[in-house]
């Protein structure tokens, strides 16, 4: 009884984010729902798990990614999907959408375009780390686990992303001087 209420609690807290994460990884709704289903069922089976894991949310993210990749591997044989050799090579695209009644269509388009351009200048892994750090506010240890890299690797990834954005969108002064 206690177990199922914990599951319900965790489901409610994290299902939206899990779904968003999966869609940013490029997975369609059906596959995502299957994967989320599998992840929670597995969670329910392992009663000790909740005691062992320090951060449930990042654990769920990692499990989801692995499960999605497994599903991808099976479906790849049935459909012709591009070849991705491991979960760390999955695509990552953040959807930008502005559903704000206070902003008119023209401004919405301007905001959307600005943000999309900036995100597109980054690599998939850089976008993913932005998502995990900025939106999900994970610690480095959790990000490292999800991305399957070291903590040092996380710092490097982030600073590379900062550098890309700074160079592409940064100070005008430098450009003027070069002219």
């Amino acid at each position: 009884m206690k177990n199922t209420n914990d599951i319900a609690d965790m489901y409610n807290r994290y299902v939206n984010d899990l779904f968003t994460y999966a869609s940013y990884l490029g997975f369609p709704k059906e596959a995502t729902m299957d994967a989320i289903h599998d992840v929670f069922c597995k969670l329910a089976e392992d009663e000790q798990l909740l005691n062992r894991v320090t951060n449930i949310k990042s654990y769920l993210f990692k499990s989801l990614k692995n499960r999605l990749y497994d599903i991808y591997r099976v479906q790849k044989r049935n459909l012709s999907l591009p070849d991705i050799k491991n979960p760390d090579e999955l695509p990552f695209n953040i959807t930008v959408s502005i559903e704000d009644d206070f902003i008119d269509a023209e401004e919405q388009a301007a905001i959307k375009s600005q943000i999309e351009n900036m995100l597109q200048s980054l690599t998939a892994r850089q976008r993913e780390i932005v998502y995990l750090r900025y939106i999900q506010e994970y610690e480095y240890t959790q990000i490292a686990e999800i991305l399957n890299i070291s903590i040092h690797g996380c710092r490097k990834l982030l600073s590379k992303a900062m550098k890309t954005l700074r160079e592409k969108y940064g100070s005008w002064i430098i450009l003027l001087l070069l002219l």
Binding site: A8, N12, T20, S23, M33, I36, T95, I115, Y131
Partner: protein
Amino acid sequence: MSDFYSRYTDFLKDEKFLRWQLLPDEALNKYWDDFIRENPDLNEEIQRAIANLKTTVLNKNILSDSDRLELFNRIQSTIQGKGKGKKTKIRHIIRYSVAACAAVALLIVGLNYFNFEKKLPKADNRELIIGNLLQSEDIQFISGEKSHEYQNDIEVKIDEKGKAKVIQTKNNRQEQIEIADTAFNKLIVPYGKRSQLNLPDGTNVWLNSGSVLEFPTQFTGKNREIRLLSGEIYLEVAPEKNKSFIVQTSNFSVKVYGTKFNVSTYDNSPHYVVLVEGNVGLQAAVGTNEIKLSPKEQAIYSEKGEFTKRIVDVEQFVCWKNGYLSFNKTPITEVLKQIGRYYNLSFNFDQDVNLQKRTCSGKIYLSDDIDNVMTTVALLSSTRYVKQNNQIYIFNKK
């Protein structure tokens, strides 16, 4: 890139702001800390942009409510299937889930949109609706001479042997209670509360706020009969070949042949029945003909003893049992009426106010927190609200 900031949208278009949010470094942090210190009047817009970017623009929720519920059901079924005969109450978990989930989503929206002013809006009476939060009452389960009172929502299960078990939804506390072998058990569910009843034949009844239901401990007669004295119930009737199920209301009776339907008999609204699945026959107290109802049909009872039938979007009428309300261009007065019942709020519609003509479209989760619900109502009807003590003021958006 202009340095003229006035609205939060200006920040959302600014690459320096975006870089600061997405990938902050020391230089950017210093720049913006200084900026905020030097422009305190822009702080509110900046905070709004910060919140907006993270929660709305980049983290849009793309899972629909029904998908979320359906997926949870699926997970629950699988877990149950593998469980070692553990009896899990699916329905109350779903209700709890939906409400808890809504709390988080709605709170985020609230942060972005509203200024919580300490002072009340000036009473321009044409544009103000006032609601009062009333004293909450207990649910009463009356059987024979005894009356049991409950502060929280409950689920009552009566088994074939005539024994009753009451489960409190909030904390899962269970108790066995003695009930009389009577035809007149009464469940009184006041405004602000809800209940569920599982009858010995397997029929499930969901009671909405403000309902009074009379039912027997055992179905001994030719038929299975219950009496809806007031309010609204949703039923999933267990099929039983030789015993049809009848719901009696003050104006008409509904004869059921194994099916799912909603009966609504509130005092200040027209009485009606909506059929989801199966088939039912309606018999007015004053008429002689039995009207048959098909799935997706609603029959509205009129004073003359007649029924008007029409096809409806069933979901809008039964979603309350799943913990949310659904509206499509519904007048705000009707929306507030339903919310009022659920949370025991009384809204004042005496004055003819323009604002009452506002319509509302969308879904409202019946969260435990009234603020969340009112935030959504305001959002869906382009109004604003302020809650002070036990009163809610709804007024036009500036």
